[in-house]
Amino acid sequence: MGMEIPFDVANIPGPEMGEVAPPEVIGSYISSAKRPLLVVGSEILRDDFFLETAIEIGRRGVPIAATGHSIRGFVEKEYTENVSYYNLHELTNCLRDPSWKGLDGKGNYDFVIFFGIVYYYASQMLSCIKNFAIDPLIRAVSIDRYYHPQARMSFTNISPEMEEGYKDMLNRLVSSIK
């Protein structure tokens, strides 16, 4: 198998590039994480399905940081249970600090899932986590339809034609969160 191509083709960071992982593997990591966090961005608003997926993950006990203007969607769906607005830069800045208290005041996270964030902005923030949130280690993964080399684990690039297949992957991911 050849090297996976980053969604932004020249975005090759260096020797450590994320693995492509199937949804079930990412799902099982989420399940075994002590403090997982779902970070969603504005692209989840492009289709109700993505918003519902995020809410479903939230319902399974993973708190949600809604970045960009994605909080709109949650408010409209009246799902505000464990969702807070955060600017992505601010949030990542907090994540890199081990003493950060988290969204609930109970401390930082160990597993962060990026979903529906503008590709290049997400990539930069994943890079910060990879390079600086190292002690204790925070694993950051992406479940977007892009290959994200700065994430520890990521899906592969998925073309719009394969949208249904992508949705199916998300469904599999959600159902594998125990």
Partner: protein, 797 residues
């Protein structure tokens, strides 16, 4: 020998065995203000101020590349904050890259400024007075502030550039392997570079204003500057069209002069792209603005220009190839960008024209602006005839062929900086719906990367242009020409409302066109804040791009709003170098309104601005190294900036942490007591993902500790309202900015008091409608905030 005073007398016959070397003759300086503590600061002079900022707004790094390859020890893998062979860690290496970016940006502005000074002294002599009319006494706030110099003529800028250039070299030295090793110190140096950048820009603009008689406070200037046409649709292509691109106006100005002198103003179109176009409209009233940077490739490829004249900065590196493709001769006018062409400066102009028109050469270098004027105009008149009938827009058949030929491989999308789904849009067009393709025109940043990877060799840029052609022809906006300095009299009128907060802020949309989602965002930002009575001051590409859109009445933001530096104003300050006047406006609030000493007093003025002037830069499409140095210069002066999501690729942000209480301590200069305060401004540099997120963020970054309760209540109204409008939610941190019940927006005071009680456990005295307990601090109208211990008036007993 002692320095000789000009006009002094000495007797030469008394001198024996003396060698006389004539140095600089020192003119007696008029004592205009006592010198402050930091004239012409060196690298370490303002380091304490920088560290104060950097400790509150800690540098945040997001590497774009995990390796370093700057020396032959490398490549070094720095992943996970490892050290390279030279000992530098990833964080410091990124501070180093940021300093490098600021070095490049600052050098572009200052190199341009120095070049301008040379040209202007050659053309007009060094004695051109700096006189901006009856309303501008403080003509050069940054020059006074940083250098301690009050410039009287353009020649005085020799000293200013000597200082800047020396500092740039010293800072560049720090980039060498085996020098600086601390990211904090790299950032302090970057802030120093940013300050030099702002000074260099001020110098460049002042020189060109003085020499070309650009708008000032003389009649017709300031708020009364005229409107000009903006947009590709405004260019009359039935006439010969000269297209100027770049940032250095002299060649374009001389083209304008040549047209005027030869009665050709109505026969030839002089249009521009980027800052040269903005500055051309400041010197030649028939000039038009074709587009901002983002449309450069496409304007050329559309074949609008019969001659292209480039000067410096933001010119496409493949400009010659682009011009050849559309048979537009290229004239390059600046030794910094010569594109491999032959220097014909000393040749006979008619011979050059003949060579260009005949196509014997695709382009020439001409370094004398006057010569450019003559050659460009003579060439364009002949080229127009020659290029008549040339149609560079795809035919319907060609368009159909290409969209049908697309195999949806997705290579273009992977190459596109905005990840645009071109294949799918082609597919829609093939089945008869061209809207998705036409819609890409404004989202595209015009880079051309997609075409290089298309295995079917589809000229994607041309295909999109063809689909959008009807809308492009209607791209007809209006924009105020660059007005240059904000007047002292305007500052006197608005100084108090700005510091008290009743004018909720100065919003400064500036810089390039690397937008995440098209030019309309630029318009929306301006419109939202102008309608809310902020003062909106624009420069560069955002000043152009926001003028492409109109409201329901068919008016642009410039037509809808006045041009005064006052609530609700929409001011085009000018080109990129003109944005120094936005720094200057903030500085003048401190010096003119508040009476703070200006000369050589950077630290105190920056401290004042950080605590009291609610200004926020917005570089929504920031792309260049210049934008990096501009933002860093704003930051050192205490002005925060918001960038678009591409701005995260600058690798560094300056982010505050409201949850860390000790980061937010101020001193009351009245008695020296220390006060915890609300995070205003919360960040110095932050990226937002979408414009919807940016709008409340910009409003948030206008909070300042000096706000009065009335001012705070106005600022809170907008922060909450923008958040509700665009995020459909209250901002989670609005309560941090409440000090007292009178800070609350009057319209929904009760509701907000209830929220404070229910959601934040604040104690409310409902009878008195007062807050008993909860806020970070209470409201004290006599609070005199400072970060500098030396400004304490009287030590607390």
């Amino acid at each position: 020998m002692e320095e000789l005073k000009k006009g002094g007398i000495f007797n030469i016959s008394d001198l024996k065995n003396v060698r006389i070397s004539i140095g600089e003759i020192v003119e007696e300086e008029e004592e205009w203000e006592p010198m402050g503590p930091h004239p012409m600061p060196g690298i370490a002079t303002l380091r304490n101020w920088d560290f104060l900022l950097l400790n509150r707004y800690k540098p945040f790094y997001a590497p774009l590349c995990d390796m370093c390859c700057l020396c032959t020890y490398g490549k070094c893998d720095l992943t996970g904050n490892k050290k390279g062979a030279c000992g530098i860690r990833m964080d410091a290496q990124h501070g180093r890259i940021v300093l490098l970016a600021c070095l490049v940006g600052c050098s572009a502005h200052c190199g341009h400024g120095r070049h301008m000074l040379h040209e202007m002294i050659k053309k007009f002599g060094g004695d051109v007075p700096i006189d901006f009319g009856p309303e501008v006494d403080v003509e050069a706030p940054l020059t006074r502030l940083v250098c301690g110099i009050k410039p009287k003529t353009i020649r005085d800028y020799e000293k200013v550039f000597d200082y800047i250039e020396e500092q740039i070299v010293q800072l560049a030295d720090a980039l060498h392997t085996g020098q600086e090793g601390s990211y904090m110190d790299f950032e302090s140096k970057a802030l120093h570079m940013g300050m030099l950048d702002s000074l260099g820009k001020e110098a460049a603009d002042i020189i060109q204003i003085a020499c070309y008689g650009m708008p000032t406070s003389y009649e017709g200037g300031g708020p009364d500057v005229p409107l000009v046409d903006v947009g590709i649709g405004t260019i009359d292509t039935t006439k010969p069209v000269v297209l100027v691109i770049g940032h250095n106006v002299p060649p374009a100005a001389d083209i304008g002069d040549y047209l005027t002198e030869n009665g050709l103003e109505d026969k030839v179109e002089l249009a521009g792209i980027c800052c040269t176009s903005i500055d051309t409209t400041r010197v030649y009233k028939k000039a038009k603005i074709a587009a901002a940077l983002g449309r450069q490739l496409r304007v050329i490829r559309m074949g609008i220009a019969d001659v292209v004249v480039v000067d410096e900065q933001c010119i496409r590196a493949d400009i010659l190839e682009l011009c050849q493709r559309v048979h537009s001769p290229l004239i390059v006018t600046n030794d910094k960008a010569m594109h491999g062409l032959v220097d014909r400066t000393d040749d006979n102009p008619d011979k050059i024209v003949d060579d260009l028109v005949s196509g014997r050469v695709p382009g020439v270098v001409i370094l004398d602006p006057e010569q450019v004027g003559e050659v460009a105009v003579k060439t364009v008149i002949q080229m127009d005839k020659k290029r008549k009938g040339l149609n560079l827009i795809l035919s319907d058949e060609e368009f159909k062929y290409y969209v049908n030929d697309c195999i949806l491989c997705g290579n273009c999308t992977l190459a596109c900086p905005n990840g645009l789904r071109i294949g799918e849009a082609n597919q829609s067009a093939a089945s008869g719906d061209i809207e998705p393709l036409a819609g890409l025109f404004d989202l595209c940043v015009g880079c051309g990367r997609c075409e290089q990877v298309c295995k079917k060799h589809i000229p994607i840029v041309d295909v999109i242009t063809k689909a959008a052609y009807p809308q492009i022809k209607e791209e007809k906006g209006r924009m105020r020409i660059g007005r240059g300095p904000v007047w002292d009299s305007e500052i006197r009128d608005v100084g108090a409302p700005i510091v008290l907060g009743t004018i909720p802020g100065i919003i400064a949309p500036i810089g390039c066109g690397n937008y995440p989602n098209g030019t309309k965002d630029a318009w929306l930002i301006v419109k939202e804040f102008a309608e809310r009575n902020y003062i909106v001051t624009l420069t560069g590409c955002m000043a152009i791009d926001c003028a492409l859109w109109k409201d329901e009445e068919g008016k642009t933001v410039y037509e809808q709003h006045h041009g005064r530096f006052d609530a609700g104003g929409v001011l085009n300050i000018g080109s990129c170098v003109s944005n120094a006047h936005i720094h200057d406006a903030a500085i003048k609030v401190a010096s003119i309104f508040a009476g703070r000493p200006l000369r050589g007093n950077y630290e105190e003025i920056a401290d004042y601005i950080l605590s009291r002037v609610g200004a926020c830069g917005v570089a929504w499409g920031a792309m260049s190294q210049k934008a990096a140095s501009i933002a860093t210069g704003f930051n050192r002066l205490g002005v925060p900036a918001v960038v678009g999501p591409h701005g995260a690729k600058y690798r560094r942000a300056f982010l505050g942490r409201p949850d860390l209480k000790d980061d937010w301590k101020l001193i009351d200069a009245t008695d020296g007591s220390e006060i915890y305060f609300e995070p205003g401004p919360q960040h110095l540099l932050v990226a937002c993902e979408t414009v919807e997120e940016a709008l409340p963020m910009i409003a948030k970054l206008c909070f300042r500790p000096s706000d009065t309760d009335r001012g705070r209540s106005i600022k809170l109204t907008h922060y909450i309202d923008l958040s509700l409008k665009y995020l459909n939610a209250y901002p989670p941190d609005w309560h941090l900015f409440v000090r007292t019940a009178t800070d609350l927006p009057i319209a929904n005071k009760n509701e907000l008091l209830k929220k404070l009680e229910d959601e934040h456990d604040w104690e409310i005295d409902w009878k008195m409608k007062r807050i008993k307990e909860g806020p970070i601090r209470g409201y004290d109208p006599s609070f005199n905030p400072t970060n500098l211990r030396r400004l304490i008036r009287e030590k607390k007993k």
